[in-house]
Amino acid sequence: MSGLADKSVLVIGAGGLGGPALLALGAAGVGRLVLCDDDAVETSNLNRQPLFGEADVGARKAAVAARRLSRLYPAIRVEALDRRFDAGSAAGLAGSCDVMVDGSDNFATKFLASDAAVVAERPLVHGGVLRYTAQLLTVMPGRTGCLRCLFEEPPPPGAVPTCAEAGVLGALAGFAGALMAAEALRLLAGERGAYAGRLLVYEARPARTRIVVVRIRAGCPSCQKRLGLLGGPAEPACEVESSKERGGRP
């Protein structure tokens, strides 16, 4: 645990994926956890979000998460932001932590997180669960592919069902969130990461694992921007306002 006390991890979302990730990262002793969630707890969350219980329905997730994590792990610092991870906040939040863990539940935020990681040069652990399938990918900016390298375009609205439409099992999200935390801890220790440039897809019913290699794609607007190959003002495909461009600290 030595060495983790002065590290910080940003966790986007404190729900199905972010919840178990935060619980595992706190238990491991990461010195500072920053979480970002602008939702209130709903009863249908309770099939999969272990930070929240019966008494929390209606309460703000950020506040409940902060209380719960602080009680379990009094030695660490928890910064619970009751706000959305959006184009305005992304760069600052990404730059303020050593590693990013994305537990968000929609593609717009996932792409934003990927863009922010690339701009801020922070490793990002991306995760997603839908029905009985979980997927994990680590983005090492400049070295391995980002989400835009993998998906040339964000899927059009309605093409991919949300968990509200398709369903999700809490325990699968818990497994994925714990795997994300373990990956973040590897990255904090300076290791390469099990999912760096390798999308892991786990299908829970057959217990089958597949790996898809994700390299930096030549036409990726996010990676090219960072590598300076395109130059000039930001391409519309990358949503993050770079703090460099705003004159802030990179």
Partner: protein, 232 residues
């Protein structure tokens, strides 16, 4: 018997899963699971079993909570020294009032067993007892940075047949969380009927990669003899 409105709202996100539905949710509600262990592997497992709507959870652990329980998700440091079972039951009740939770009592009749992070000798004994009673069971072991979950549906090769020694390394909090959640996942798939072809299998997690293998009966093992009825 139909699900109540409250349960429909609570389990909305999983009721729509293929292979689950109202029937699967009712099977979960009817299940009574004995959970052996109330430490770092059991904590996440208990919370996810409760979240899924497993109707009754009986916790079986003789120890008080201590330093080693920091990663359990359910043992706040201000509760050190309390019986682990008490904190575990409290955590389950806080998570969900739609399931029953209690300390395991003599004469309790579980319909399934989860061994969560127990010592090897305890795991073997409990698994064998479950097999002889014709109960499906899952054994979860954390080891260093990963671990393994062994799934034993009724009639499948037993835990002893499937066992492979790990490194015996002290498990990390991320490992116990992985293995606890995975064990809950396997048990929910088995109990609900959503498991596509319930088979004995062992899922190992090594450096973040799950690797599953069907379990095989060792020649001469007693588990070959009993012609057990398939799980309902």
């Amino acid at each position: 018997m139909a699900l109540s409105e409250r349960r429909i709202a609570r389990y909305a996100r999983q009721l729509i899963l293929p292979g689950l539905g109202e029937a699967g949710q009712e099977r979960l509600l009817a299940a009574r699971v004995r959970v052996v262990g109330a430490g770092p592997v059991a904590g996440p497992a208990l919370l996810y079993l409760a979240a899924a709507g497993v109707g009754t959870l009986w916790v079986d652990d003789p120890d008080p909570s201590g330093e080693g329980d920091a990663g359990a998700w359910i043992h706040p440091p201000d509760g050190r020294g309390r019986p682990r079972t008490a904190a575990a039951v409290e955590a389950v009740r806080a998570a969900s009032d739609l399931v029953e939770a209690g300390v395991l009592r003599p004469g309790a009749g579980p319909t399934a067993v989860l061994v969560a992070g127990a010592a090897q000798d305890v795991a073997r004994a409990v698994a064998e007892e479950a097999r002889l009673l014709g109960l499906p069971h899952v054994v979860a072991e954390a080891d260093g940075e990963g671990g393994a979950v062994t799934v034993v549906p009724v009639g499948a090769p037993c835990y002893a047949c499937a066992f492979r020694a790990g490194h015996g390394a002290e498990p990390t909090p991320a490992a116990t969380a992985q293995v606890g959640a995975l064990a809950a996942l396997e048990l929910v798939l088995l109990l609900s009927g959503a498991a596509q072809a319930p088979e004995g299998r062992r899922v190992e997690v090594v450096r973040g990669q799950p690797m599953a293998r069907a379990t095989l009966r060792l020649p001469g093992c007693a588990c070959a003899g009993a012609a057990a009825r398939p799980a309902p």
